[in-house]
């Protein structure tokens, strides 16, 4: 008996705009919110939607990400008849190829989907921050007898030209899809989250693979072609907190939005069930020293704060030594701020060490990134 739904998470992106953070790891493996990696959100959302089969499509610098995904136990995918598998490009009889696009990544793993025999396939990106259950979207897809349902976000019309924009009729049936239109006629932006009826998807992928002119991309090729073929495509209106953390500024901003002073009712709520799951680092509890000052911060287990920490997100195994000050910054695991140092408006990559009395980015007003090799971007 086949499965009802299989999720496929696209996690092969390089994330070049995150500079040194993605030099050695794929963007979905980048740390976020003091405790999480970006892909934790997608995988937790899938787990919390009672979907028990998931393929994670990895490509760029996949070692860390593949290792992190493991057997999926961090998100509970190690249960009976559950499957969580990292699907990196591989050599087959027809040769070895990198994934040429999002659609090609799914096409190259069509044997995985065939073996799972799903009725529906949920395709989503592994580099977005949001908390949801896909239940309602799947229910809409089934009820509307759609071939494809696309999750959309209502964005400011001024910002719409940055996104893939969908035009819909009065029943939210999609009539047109335009990738980054110069003059957008709608404010419904595609979130890159799709539900396909598998039979339809399979046929579309096979046809697309034969098309030498295709870029093998869902937004550019698969969706427009399905519209041209008069397939039924429906928009699902997502409401809630959703962030694309593709740049240093947006990564910093999304981290800052988690701080107590900046949280709103809309902000992702970690306390409300279901939870966002992540790796437990087996860290010791965090320690705040008698000489420390901590205000408006999010601090993970394993951190030791002896200095001053204001408006910052602090990961496990971070040490802020006595007399050091960190403000408005994001410190990833293992960062050490030595005595008397000062850090402002910064993202510090894993294991970065700031020397004694060193001053980083004071009063510049811009966000800077330092990694363990100390490359200032």
């Amino acid at each position: 008996m086949g499965r009802n739904v299989v999720a496929m998470i696209l996690a092969g992106g390089k994330g070049t705009r995150l500079h040194a953070l993605t030099k050695k790891i794929a963007k979905p493996a980048v740390y976020f919110g003091g405790k999480y990696r970006i892909i934790d959100f997608s995988l937790s959302n899938v787990a919390n939607s009672s979907i028990d089969s998931v393929g994670v499509l990895t490509q760029y610098e996949s070692v860390v990400l593949n290792n992190y995904i493991g057997n999926g136990s961090k998100w509970g995918f190690d249960g009976v008849e559950s499957t969580c598998v990292a699907l990196a490009p591989r050599q087959t009889e027809s040769g070895a190829n990198w994934y040429k696009g999002t659609a090609d990544a799914i096409y190259q793993n069509i044997d995985f989907l065939d073996s799972e025999e799903p009725q529906y396939v949920l395709i989503l990106s592994g580099d977005h921050i949001y908390k949801t259950s896909y239940d309602q979207m799947l229910a809409l897809h089934v009820k509307s007898k759609a071939d494809c349902t696309i999750s959309v976000l209502e964005v400011d019309i001024k910002e719409a030209s940055r996104f893939g924009i969908l035009e819909v009729d009065s029943t939210d049936t999609i009539t047109k899809f335009v990738e980054k239109p110069k003059e957008p006629k709608s404010n419904l932006a595609s979130m890159g989250v799709y539900v396909f009826t598998y039979k339809v998807l399979r046929q579309a992928l096979v046809e697309d693979a034969k098309d030498e002119k295709s870029e093998h991309d869902f937004g550019k090729n698969i969706i427009p072609k399905m519209l041209a073929q008069k397939k039924k495509l429906v928009a699902y209106r997502f409401k809630g907190y959703w962030r694309d953390v593709g740049t240093l500024d947006s990564l910093h901003q999304a981290n800052m939005e988690l701080l107590p002073s900046q949280r709103s009712e809309e902000t992702i709520n970690f306390d409300e069930s279901p939870k966002i799951y992540s790796e437990d680092t087996n860290s010791y509890p965090q320690y705040i020293d008698s000489k420390a000052t901590v205000k408006d911060c999010l601090i993970n287990q394993g951190a030791s704060i002896f200095g001053t920490c204001i408006k910052s997100v602090i990961s496990n195994e971070v040490v802020i030594e006595e007399g050091a000050t960190v403000t408005n910054s994001v410190l990833m695991p293992g960062v050490v701020i030595k005595k008397g140092a000062y850090v402002e408006n910064a993202i510090l990559g894993p294991d970065t060490v700031i020397k004694e009395k060193e001053v980083i980015n004071k009063d510049s007003g811009k966000i800077v990134l330092l990694d363990y090799e100390r490359n200032l971007q």
Binding site: G33, P260, P285, Q286, Y287, D289, C297, I299, N300
Partner: protein, 375 residues
């Protein structure tokens, strides 16, 4: 270590009054993140011992709830084995619900071909030890039974309730006595035993004909007094902590807190020795703009807007703006509302401090607030 079966002995855990009324010490919280059993199990994990039995005396629900998954402590969930041992026949009779009877009821492991040595470890005595070295010394001694001991100062003050031993020139146990309250320097038995499994298996038929041997401690005393074999004594050099009262629980918790500040103070929390525990998937801690936290350990899931000094907060504790928590240990999911001042308090989980403005202990005794109380 494939030829070792380890038994975590919850039968001889100390009772700490109300603190252990609804749970054993094994599942009582330590430093807001751990339970006491985590130290015993992490020693085994870090020593490469993957075949483990938990000898449960009572409150099994609390233990199983804490343990939750084998994968927390075992290196390999297929080749490793974690088993809950309950003395089903004797559990309702305090005289028969002993560690020896528990082993007798669950003695299948003694018949496993790989089980050459049995290591029995306590929960109420916390120390960081590589059991692989202990077992190597046991094998090297050629003896059938070994006991692990530690040389301590202030035995009467810190270790009353345990046994002290005398070791002869050959490194074997010469005498076993109870610790006297007046004792200063002494060699304290750590309720940690290594046995050749064949010897332990062979002892059970003989025990049927002997009265007054109910526990492993009794067995060791009997062998030492009347047996024709020697018990080898293996010294553990390092810090040892024994929790047997609420005040000791408090003092040791604060020592562990200081260990996180300075890794040299207690030598339990060191970078080379992970303490494994189950995850609750709680978020990092929120420190609000009005938070004032000094010299404290805080577990994930907490929300702090008030003042916290010299304290330990477990998972999901809320300290509202204007509240003060000093010299206190607050268990998980508790709430301290605005305007409340706590000092010298040990508050069990799910407690709520709502309207009483001050709960302040005297210097010698800490105030214990039972689980779920609303003050």
């Amino acid at each position: 270590m494939k030829n070792v079966v380890a038994l975590v002995n919850l039968h001889n855990s100390p009772e700490c009054g109300l603190l252990t009324e609804k749970r054993p010490l094994a599942s009582t919280t330590v430093l807001g993140r751990y339970a006491f059993i985590d130290f015993a199990l992490s020693n085994l994990t870090n020593s490469g011992i993957d075949d483990i039995g938990i000898m449960i005396k009572n409150h099994s629900r609390s233990i199983i709830k804490h343990m939750r998954s084998d994968n927390t402590y075992l290196k390999n969930s297929k080749t490793g084995y974690l088993n809950y041992m309950i003395n089903e026949e004797g559990i309702h009779n305090p005289f028969y619900n002993t560690d020896l009877n528990n082993i007798a009821q669950n003695d299948y492991f003694l018949y496993e071909p790989d089980c050459k040595y049995v290591l029995i470890v306590p929960v109420g005595i916390v120390y960081k030890v590589n059991y692989a070295e202990i077992i190597r010394e046991h094998i090297k001694s050629g003896k059938l039974f070994s006991v692990v001991y530690s040389k301590v100062e202030n035995a009467g003050k810190d270790f009353f309730g345990l046994n002290k031993i005398t070791v002869n020139a050959l490194g074997n146990v010469q005498k076993i006595d109870q610790v006297d309250p007046k004792d200063k320097e002494a060699l304290i038995g750590l309720k940690t035993y290594v046995c050749n499994s064949s010897a332990l298996k062979g002892a059970f038929p003989k025990l049927k004909n002997i009265s007054n041997v109910f526990t492993l401690d009794d067995l060791m005393l009997y062998i030492q007094k009347y047996g024709d074999i020697d018990i080898h004594a293996i010294e553990f050099k390092g810090d040892v902590y024994y929790v047997n009262t609420l005040n000791k629980y408090y003092d040791i918790s604060m020592k562990f807190k200081n260990n996180l500040k300075n890794k040299e103070t207690a030598k339990i929390f060191t970078e080379d020795w992970k303490i494994f525990t189950r995850t609750h998937d709680t978020r990092p801690v929120y420190y609000g703009e009005k938070s004032n936290v000094k010299d404290s350990v805080v577990a994930n899931g907490c929300t702090i807007n008030g003042t916290v000094k010299n304290s330990i907060l477990a998972r999901n504790v809320t300290v509202e703006e204007g509240a003060v928590v000093e010299d206190s240990i607050i268990f998980s999911d508790s709430v301290v509302k605005a305007g409340v001042h706590l000092k010298g308090v040990v508050a069990d989980k799910l407690t709520k401090f709502i309207s009483k403005k001050e709960v302040i202990s005297n210097k010698d005794e800490h105030i214990y607030i039972p689980q779920g109380e609303t003050i």
